[in-house]
């Protein structure tokens, strides 16, 4: 694609990791900055609560990406319900659409935030689709 520099990788991210409440800021890495530096796009998940239609809309998007050569991962946070990922709702929605479940990386708030940021950076750098799948689409 001429002049197009998309990264072909993105992450499902809980609201709490994008808009981290003050009380958690010291305990969590700046995930949005890590994703930005790693060339990942963001698919923001809603805060806890009932968001049936919105989660279905997000699952539609993940399906479209995962069937066309994009790498989709999920980043959760330990201590939040469902790791902040609405996993009990979104996993069946993805299965129903024939989309593979994204690999998950869980942030640990009880570990030094800088260390967790570096661990996330390494994990994101190491993940992508198999090379033959990349060549097919990109």
């Amino acid at each position: 694609m001429i002049g197009d520099i998309r990264g072909w990788r993105m992450a499902l991210v809980p609201d709490t990791l994008i808009n981290t409440p003050q009380r958690l800021r010291a305990a969590l890495p700046d995930v949005l900055s890590v994703l930005e530096a790693s060339g990942y796009g963001v698919l923001q998940l809603p805060p806890p609560g009932e968001h049936g239609l919105l989660l279905a809309v997000i699952a539609d998007q993940v399906q479209e990406y995962s069937h066309h050569g994009y790498a989709v991962v999920a980043i959760g946070v330990r201590g939040e319900a469902g790791d902040g990922l609405h996993w009990r709702r979104i996993a069946p929605l993805l299965r129903h659409r024939g989309a593979a479940l994204p690999p998950r990386h869980i942030i640990r708030p009880d570990v030094d935030a800088a260390v967790e940021g570096q661990r996330l950076t390494r994990w994101l750098a190491a993940y992508d689709l198999p090379v033959e799948e990349q060549h097919r689409w990109r």
Binding site: M1, N19, L53, Q61
Partner: protein, 210 residues
Amino acid sequence: MEQQKPPRKVALVANCLLNQNAKVCEGARYRGVVSPVVEALRSRGYVLQQLPCPELAFAGVRRWWAVYEQYDTPAYRAHCRRLAQAIAPLIERFLRDGDEVILIGLDGSPSSGVRFTSSKPDWGGRPNRPEDDWEIVPRRGIWIEELEAELAQRGLPPIPATGWALDMGRFDEAGSRRDLDEFLDSREQSQSTSSGENSVRTSGEGSGTP
């Protein structure tokens, strides 16, 4: 007694401002996150709320570019209304909590344009870049029209909005940043003179329909 949360500054952002993979083929100018937009909003204390991408879920991620008139169909508008109904409860919650809410769309986009959209009523057939030619006209994109209609139907006040000028033909990042900063500065000034102007903290009745 329930403790009242302090009001927040909330920026509704077009989907592709956080994820350039959503862009039409040949339209991504960043790898993932549109850094200058995120930096401008976060440095001013905004929390971010990503909007769904209407084109991606309708025409797919391998779609060609299009103009307003090509997307102006009953089926696409119905699809946009479904997406608006999916995200409106979150926006309504922000407004009813007394938060200051703004919207950052994507100027020039047939869907997410705020100040401008792309237009060419007789356009159709085979795309032919870079010869393709369309006009930029001062008008909302279809997704923004439908989102605003859904919010109005819920009795919510209009949301101050601007667009990041990514789809205006030649992309001028510095100019886009200046525009965005001016818009955000003007919001700060208006908030310092009248607090919570677009909020509806007293639930029940909206403070006005657009």
